[in-house]
Symmetry: C2
Subunit: 290 residues, 2 copies
């Protein structure tokens, strides 16, 4: 039990929303995995799960998820323990990704850092003094709603500026792109990473959107740095991992000229960061690491 | 030795800039104070000092001050220990104010909170898990440079938005006020608190500037809340303590509709918050509190 991956298994949550079905799905997966490595059921020492939402780690409850599921107060830890007769632990998915990078990834040995997950949405996992900092109501790092200069007002809310997620999240970028319709020959339904790919090959509209995204991301990092003064930010998520976004954000951040400039790194584990964090959490839960 | 104030003494730093003169000035003050309470020199168990700048608490060095003094790498703790032959401790002044409010003020019993000092400038003292959080390079909470929507671009930096301090710090507010020249019968050299007083008595220009200030302050609190999810913000400093600013910021913050709305309180100790924090630090340094 040293943190080496023995097998993996995937299932999609498309087609269902309820937690019971999700747990059945996980149960099915674990059965497959145990078979694959020829291990008996009682070999399962612990189970850890990440939830895409606000998670009460102490109580083992997913308080709310924004995407897909729409869960409210789901006692996921107890459900997993009932299903597997093994100790379970749960946490927010971005927190687990931060934990993974902290354990053996880009932030190994760095006691204070921020993991920025930029995929469909935007969130942060914050590690302070070597520990996840989750906030009083488990919502620390919910920076998707952050107000940064340069984001236009939210539709219908004239006096309220736009949010970070609406501008630099994957969905937000796709929406911005549709406004470039008459400035580019490219299709108007590109994803954020496709748009950034085209920025690298010289499409002026894509370059412009990349520039805007990186400027806003750098401003968010700058604002968070002023609060936390931590020496490292790690970019993760499908959008956040893109090399062109990384390079442009690095440049924009240097221009903002912070007194103590944080390092900016890309996630080592990419889409697997969360899994590595869950592995670490499961090892902790099993008492295998001290 | 229970934290009760026995005597106070003031001296101005106007007319000198160097640390040696400041320490002589403190020495003179301590002599006066000891005489006042008829205590011998060896009754001084410890000394604590707040510095208006970035302070390395471990090394006892004031790394940099922005205002007035312009200190760089001043070993203030050692200088105080040499002068008084007693253990000394130093910290950033806003951190000390946060410590004071945490100890016996507005944040007593609240493990996570942010103290916002708004005077000439703007800074934050952050308490997490009951302890001051100072950041890797001692600059956590230096939010004066925060970029918030609604602040116009910095002069000469077309693409760089204005900073929080430039808009809601005392100096920034005075500067904004001068632009209202033809919209008010009031003099153009009012201080921030005078302007807010006039907002309360119905001057439309003063009301407008109060509104703008509170909107930007609420956005800063909102952004910090998204990062830290702490349940309390305490407003301090001569500008931050103004009742009109407090009321308007409270209203603006509620309109921003955070998932978990933090409480907003005014400092209990006002201009003395820093002194109370220094007292606590001195008691800790003397080993009088466990």
């Amino acid at each position: 039990m040293n943190g080496t991956e023995q097998a993996q298994w995937e299932c999609s949550s498309a087609g269902f929303r309820d937690a019971d079905t999700a747990v059945l799905c996980i149960k099915d997966g674990v059965r497959h995995l145990l078979e694959k490595v020829s291990a008996p059921g009682h070999a399962l020492s612990a189970i850890a799960a990440g939830a895409p939402g606000v998670t009460d780690v102490d109580a083992g409850i997913v308080i709310a998820t924004s995407y897909l599921m729409g869960w409210r107060d789901v006692p996921l830890r107890a459900m997993l323990e009932d299903a597997f007769h093994a100790p379970a632990a749960i946490d927010n998915d971005v927190n687990l990704a931060a934990l993974g990078e902290s354990w053996t990834g880009a932030a190994k040995g760095v006691p204070d850092f921020v993991f920025l997950a930029i995929g469909t949405g935007v969130g942060a996992g914050i590690i302070l003094n070597g520990e996840l900092f989750r906030g009083t109501n488990w919502t620390a790092g919910e920076i998707g709603y952050m107000l940064v200069p340069g984001a236009p007002a939210t539709a219908g809310k004239r006096n309220q500026p736009g949010t970070l997620e609406g501008m630099i999240g994957g969905e937000g970028i796709r929406e911005q792109w549709r406004k470039y319709g008459n400035q580019t020959m490219l299709p108007n339904n590109l994803t954020a990473t496709q748009i950034f790919d085209h920025a690298l090959t010289g499409d002026a509209a894509a370059e412009d959107l990349l520039q805007q995204t990186s400027t806003l991301l750098a401003r968010a990092i700058y604002n968070i740095s002023l609060v936390l003064n931590c020496p490292l930010f790690v970019l993760g998520g499908t959008v956040g991992m893109h090399q062109a976004l990384y390079d442009a954000t690095q440049t924009a951040l240097i221009q903002l000229n912070l007194r103590t400039q944080p390092r900016l790194l890309r996630s080592v584990f990419g889409p697997k960061a969360q899994i590595i964090g869950a592995l670490r959490l499961a090892l902790d839960t099993a008492g295998a690491l001290c």
